[in-house]
Amino acid sequence: MAQWGRRLNKQSSAAAAVALTQPPVRKTRGGVHPSRELIIVTAVVVVAVLALPWMHPGYRLLSFAVTTCLTAIVLYGMAVPFGQAGIMSLGYAGLMGFGAYTAAILSRDLGMNMWQAMPFSALVAALFAGLFGLPSLRISGHHFAITTWVMCELLRITLVNGGKFTGAATGLDLPPTGKAFGLDMDKLANAYLLVAAFMLLSMLATYLIANSRYGRTLRSIRENEQLARSIGVNTDLHKLIAFMVSGVFAGIAGDLQAYSFRHISPDLYGGAVSMYFALMVMLGGPRTLFGPLTGALIVTFLPEVMRIDPIDSRIAYGVALIAVIMLLPGGIIAVTERGYQWLKGAARRARRGVSPPDVDSSPA
């Protein structure tokens, strides 16, 4: 994992920080001003995401879209420690699980609904995210990634052996969500709109974090931890905070997932699912605005669209991950963005080509 991170750092450089930070974002005293392209693409994405239920997608496709949005919320959280602070973790399915089980247990024992449970899900997941992140203060790269994967598996095993409290291997059931904003959330289209709204909010939150002073502090850790410390950055503290922030995303996603599926079980939150999350975020690109959403879309929909057998699709993912690391460092979106910038530059050069040569190049 360390090599992957380093490759990301080396090749994506300033150009890949693109959509989430830097070039298309002009910074002035007044704050952040996104580029025109970014605003247009964002508007198209927002409209497309929210308009989906009116395009008669069918039950199956819509339920895939719900899964995609839930996953993307977690991935936008991962984008904070991974994309900005540069620390890869493989525990995010577990953190989502803390959120989901908190929601389910609070519902069963205290009769809380989805909204009431949400802050608790976020808090519990954030606390455990901090715990999962603790080893990163001593070890880094793939060593750290493996410890988080192990913690995720430990959670799954604990849930399986949790008896009545966690519902063991069968898991737990949840009541219907009921009404929210005047909409019946037990209709799939409405449930989709709810998770889609949260997905867009998490996208916005990640964008704001990345473009804040705090995002810059996290990037200093990613870029050069020793230099960051020498100018007074408390790198240990900020690593843990970054993890806890991502835990909030995962916890909320878990709460939403528990109520969307209305049944949760340990196998949703094991190490294998965490690996998929890592694949998605790397595939799309952790430092770009649309990277996490794209990664979630591809990995959720591709096997369905191409009708690939589950075993084959796992092999395909492995190959895809290696291909992305080798060929598209920074992820699909970062590479697309660079391609677009290159085309723009080429178009500008072509236009200039017909005009007379520069003064500098004429003989003295």
Binding site: A14, R213, R219, L227, R229, S230, I231, G232, V233
Partner: protein, 242 residues
């Protein structure tokens, strides 16, 4: 206000290698101090032990009288002891502006006329001679500029004392001479400057006071003119160069 960094009895051992064998160094901010010595004499280890990168095996570091031995690297940075690194460090994939912005947003609590001059990235980059490079990514800059950026990042943290670890390594004579001018200006603005290097000519020009380390021991400490004529120094260090 003049500050004093007192290092006493500093000892650091790596396995069987004694990098520092109980060294006493006093760094006063009103003079530019140079620490010279051949490779492996313990110069960088001294800085790292002061700056919280290593915990010293024995010895004490006092900053304006207060014991700061064993404080972590970021605490040292916040106290106003800034440093640069031998390897010309930067935040490579970030823009030059963002590199110094990070330093300005952290660093020490020092606020006075001197640090006012470096309170924005543009001012700071202008001061070190990197105006016009703000939007470049740090990794795309030539090495000489990377050295300047290292100094700019350290200054951005509003230090009262700057520890420069071989700031001219890898630079040509013209670039080194420019850096010497830069360090003089930094010092005139009331920031203590302590330089490690083994470029004797540059050090003799920059520093009034020299300390010579050899295998973890201090073998000379005094005014530059006296130190460069010291028989022991010539034997172990300067002699080896000719």
């Amino acid at each position: 206000m003049a500050t004093v960094l007192e290092i006493s009895g500093m000892r650091k051992q790596f396995g069987g290698v004694v990098a520092l064998a109980g060294v006493d160094v006093t760094i006063k901010s009103d003079e530019i101090l140079g620490i010279i010595g051949p490779n492996g004499s313990g110069k960088t280890t001294l800085f790292n032990a002061v700056c919280g990168v290593y915990r010293p095996d024995a010895g004490q570091v006092r900053w304006n009288g207060a014991d700061i031995t064993g404080k972590t690297a970021f605490e040292i940075g916040r106290l106003g002891i800034g440093r640069t690194f031998q390897q010309a460090m930067s935040f490579p994939s970030l823009s030059v502006r963002e590199n110094v912005q990070i330093a300005i947003e952290h660093g020490s609590a020092r606020r006075d006329a001197a640090t006012q001059r470096w309170s924005t990235p543009e001012d700071l980059l202008g001061f070190v001679g990197l105006e016009g490079f703000a939007d470049e990514s740090a990794s795309s800059m030539p090495f000489g500029n990377l050295r300047r950026l290292g100094v700019a990042v350290a200054l951005g943290g509003r230090p009262s004392q700057l520890l420069l670890d071989e700031p001219a390594a890898g630079l040509n004579d013209a670039e080194s001479a420019e850096l010497v001018q830069l360090f003089r200006r930094v010092h005139q603005l009331g920031v203590g400057v302590c330089v490690i290097d083994h470029h004797v000519q540059m050090m003799a020009e920059l520093c009034r006071h020299l300390i010579v380390l050899h295998f973890g021991n201090k073998i000379a400490d005094g005014p530059t003119e006296a130190v460069v004529r010291d028989a022991k120094v010539i034997e172990v260090y300067l002699g080896a160069q000719s």
